[in-house]
Structures are given as structure tokens and as C-alpha cells.
Amino acid sequence: MKTAKELRAEGATPLVEMKDISIAFGGIKAVDHVSVDVHPGEVVGLLGHNGAGKSTLIKILSGAYHMDSGEIRINGDKVEITNPRDARSHNIETIYQTLALADNLDAASNLFLGRELVTPFGLVDDAAMEAECRKIMGRLNPNFQKFSEPVSALSGGQRQSVAIARAVYFNAKILIMDEPTAALGPHETQMVAELIQQLKAEGIGIFLIDHDVHAVMELCDRASVMKNGALVGTVDIEDVTDDDLLSMIILGKNPGEAADSTTD
């Protein structure tokens, strides 16, 4: 299989293209004509300050928000994503910053929320779901044991494994991770990093939103930086340093550009 970089160099059709996306909330342009894309097996980092618009941009792809203008293409075909069900039907899975778990339900119920396994009579099959949940957890987090308790009783890392399990269990092709390591300790962060490498090898395209420049340098192939709703630029991680990325985030200028550039 070709690497993402080779595919890009050949001009192959990206897995996902978000073209010229705009959305405004009450007159404030949260996302202003932004274009990003991801190839199979590629990790694209989305960087920017709080309020730069990266989470909003990604929520358009996951169906939580509806864009005002622009288009989304998957494998070159234009698609309409108006709600989370549409996104799921295109194999787009999201791990949200706020984890989006129902605290009062157990891990298996959360894993299958919206896509429950049912018996031939149409009733939810809790035992089968718990068995599947044990399988995927055995892979993701071998220490996980609290299967019969509501997820409110779990630690941050355990909750995160449930959220990640939900995204990877259903054969995602496109994965959106919104600060997946924000609530985690060093060991669990390492676990997420290994998982990302593994998913990449399986040909999944990943958008990774993160504040941490070092994490992006380590995990991503490319990075798109946003500031005040607009795209500052997209760079190959191999071509830039930490400081380049930081100056893109803080000053809103591309490496080598003059300080008083176009944005802002």
C-alpha cells in the first residue's frame, strides 16, 4: 500500500475533502472559507487557540452543525451531512472532547448507543453487547473491568477508552479525535498514541484536534492551523519545527512569511 504522502504527491483523490466551508453564529464567522483534506492512512492535525474554530469545523463533518456554505466530498463524491446519523452512514466516527457518554449507562450500552445489538425478537441483547464490549476492551485497555457499572463510576482514562472503543468498533474509515488525550495520564496518552499508529496502518484517515504542539509533531503527518475562524495554512510536519507551528498559532503567519501577514 502506498503511504499517504505518495498518494498526495500523485494527486490521488483524498478520502475526505472539506472545501471552502463557512459557518456563522449570530453574525460571528466561526469558520470562514476553510478547506482541509485527509488521505487514507494519514493523520492531519488541526491546531489553533481556543475559539479558533477547529472544533466547529470538525463538528460540521460529524454532523453536529450544519454548514452555511461549502462542500464535503468523500472519495471524490459530494455528500450531504445534516445530522450525526448521516456522518455515521459514511463511516465517519468522532471522539468528542467532552466524551459524549451517557453517564448513567454502562460501558456496553454506551459503546452500542444508537446501534444496539438486538435479539431475533427485536429486544436489545445486553449479554451479547457485553461480550463484544469485553472483546474490544481486551484490545484497547486490558485493565478495564467495570462492565456492569455506569460510566460515571469510571476514571477519566477508562471513560476515554469507552469513547475510543465506540469510534473504532464500527469499522470507521474516517476518525475525528477532538483532544483525545486531554483527560489522560502519561500511560494512557501513550496508549492513544499507539492506537493512532495502529489505525493509521489500517488505512483510516484521522483528523486530530489538539492544543499540544508536541503531540501533533509526534503523531501527525500534516497540520492545518486555524486562527479566528480562518485557515492560516497547512504544512507537512517533516518540513516544520515546533516553533514554526507555534508562530502559526500565535501570530497567524506561515513559516517564512512576514509578521504582518494577511490574517487577523
Partner: protein
Amino acid sequence: MAEATTQPIQTPAKRSLFQQLELDTRLLGMVGAFIILCIGFNLLTDGRFLTPRNIFNLTIQTVSVAIMASGMVFVIVTRHIDLSVGALLATCSAVMAMVQTQVLPDMLGFGLNHPATWAITIVVGLGVGTLIGAFHGWMVGYLSIPAFIVTLGGFLVWRNVAWYLTDGQTIGPLDKTFLIFGGINGTMGTTWSWIIGIAATALALFGLWSGRRARQGHGFAVKPLWAELTIAGITAGAILGLVWTLNSYLIPARRLKRMMEAKGETMPEGLEVGYGLPISVLILIAVAVVMTVVARRTRLGRYIFATGGNPDAAELSGINTRMLTVKIFALMGFLCALSAVVASARLANHSNDIGTLDELRVIAAAVIGGTALSGGLGTIHGAILGALIMQALQSGMAMVGVDAPFQNIVVGSVLVLAVLIDIQYRKRLGAK
């Protein structure tokens, strides 16, 4: 996703015999409170409280509120409230009263007590209730008006729609067949009650057994066999005990004589016939079973609890929470109509004040039964037990001779106290 390393299943640490039963301690507390209440009233009334006759009356008085309370659980679990249930019950009751006493007999020429009257009446009533409920749900879900406001408005609207429909008059007598849904006028008799009781016991035991087998099939830990058998014993005892009690309430000799004379038979000397299970109680049991299955074993129920626990998570998981709201309120409306059947049949007529203050009793029953107003938590059996406790309290105080104002003062205080105890209990458990 090729690997299939399944998580090892831990053997549970050694626990006390009681913990191995895996009973819901909160439910146990409520059952305990109910038993203490009954024994207390029984002592104060010199044994008049725990007689078959009084238990029979208690059950049929509880049915109407308990049916609505089971629907209120879903409403409150999803962080909504329905203040209009009593008024909605009145409107459904008024519609059904008009259909069976005027529309069908006079306008459509069926005449009085036509064999199809009761069925048409109930279908119309249930339809009206479901539609009004769905309309409430649409306003809450799609127009984003808070449920408190929608149903507060509904409370005024439907109470007075009922008044308008009947000109404020008491409508009766109702259709003869319709009256069997009220309680005392429609019981199964002792033989059928035993048959139903034994069938229900068998079903419950089968349910326990198949649940255990499903968990064993996946190799999960199960309760020890003795614990499972104890639960089975308690279940069977409770079902058959209720049947036995209701069968022990004998039809008064004079009433029995009249009933047999109506059939053209003469009553043999010394004949004793028990009432058995009232049909209204059977309806309540059916509602409880169906609602419990919906809550625990269907996608609808799973989505209701997920939405209550975290509405954003539910929405992001692709659940159509707006449509879900419509369904929940439509179900609530359906159950209000079903309660209207039972309530108006029990009184044998439709009166203008039917269902007054029921909204508060229903909400109180659900809350005493452990439904959290913050959403995500609640059980059907808890709400029904809550309704039973409220009714026992009310009729017990009436039997002891507590003055009417004090009765309501006590019921109100108990509601607040029950919630306080619940909050303390959950804090100690560390649960939210």
C-alpha cells in the same frame, strides 16, 4: 480488528450472603417502608387495614395513578415534566363518556348497552389521549417550548375542554360492559385468578432462568444458584400471595344472590365466591410488564435513559431526540386515556372533577419511587410502589380518622422527606 483477546472475567470477591442476592437496596427500603406502614395502620385500626376487603380496595384505588406514574417515569427520566395528566385524563374521560352515552346510542343509533359500544369508546379515548400527548411532545421537541410551560398550559386547556364537552354535568350511567374495567364490577373470579397467577409465576421464573442462561452462554459470572432460587421463591410468593388475598375477599351474600338471580339461577345455601383479580389490576400489571420491557430491553427505552443521562451524547450518537420526545409524550397521553377508562368505570360515571390533583399524585408517586428529576434514573416498579405507598397512606389515615387537612399535610411532608432520604442514600452510595 482481527485480534480477539477477550477481557478476562474476574471471579467476584467474597461477599456476604445478602450481597450475593444482588437486590436493589433502594427498592428493598421502599418495600420495607410500605410493610411498616401497613402494619402500623393495621395496629391503629385494630386489624381492619390488612383485611382482604381493604387490600382489594387499595389495589383498585391505586390503579389509575399507578398507570400514569409508569408513563411519568419516562417523561421525568428525559428531564421533562407533565403537569397536564389529570386534565388530560378528564378530557379523555369526557370524550369517552359522550361517545358511549350520546354519540353511539343516539346519533349513530346503536341504542344503550350495544355490545360494540365499549370497544369503540375505548379505541376513541385511547386515540384522543395519544394524539393530545403527541401534540404536547411536538411542541416540546420540535418547537423547543419547555415541557413545564406546554403542560401547564395543557393543564388549563384540557381541564376546561372536558368541562366544555360535558357542560360541566356528570355523565352517566356508563355502558354496562365498559364498567368491568373499573374494579369491583369486573373481576376474574377465583378459578381464573389462580390460573392467571400460576401462569404469571411460570413466566416470571422462565424470565429469570433465561436471563441466567444468556449470561452463562457468554461465560459471565452469575449469582449462586441458591440466591437465584431465593429470588424465584420471593417472586412466586408475591404473585400467588396477591392472588390468594384477592380471592379471599368474598362477594357479599346478598350481592351474589342478585347476580345469580339475574342469570336465572337460585343461590345454593352457604355458597361462598371470592372476587379474585380485578380486571383493572390486570391492566396495571400488563402496563407494568410492558413498560419495564420497553425501559430495559428495547432501543426506545435505551434511548430514553441515554437522553436523560446526557442529551448531547444521545444527539451525537445519532438518536433523534426530538422524535423521541414526541413518542414519550404520546405514550404518556395513551396511558392517561387508559387511566381515564379505569377511573371513570370505577366511579360508574364521568364527573367534572375527575382526575383533579392527579398530576401531583402521579409526579409524587414517580419521585417517591426513585425517579430523579435531574434525569436518567427511574424504574417502573418503583413508581408503581410509590403510588401504592401514597394510596396506603391516604386511605390508612382516613380509616384511622385523621382530619382531612392533616391527611394532605402528611402526604406532602412524606413526599419531601422521601426525596431527602433518597438524596442522602445516593450520596452515601457515591452515585450521582
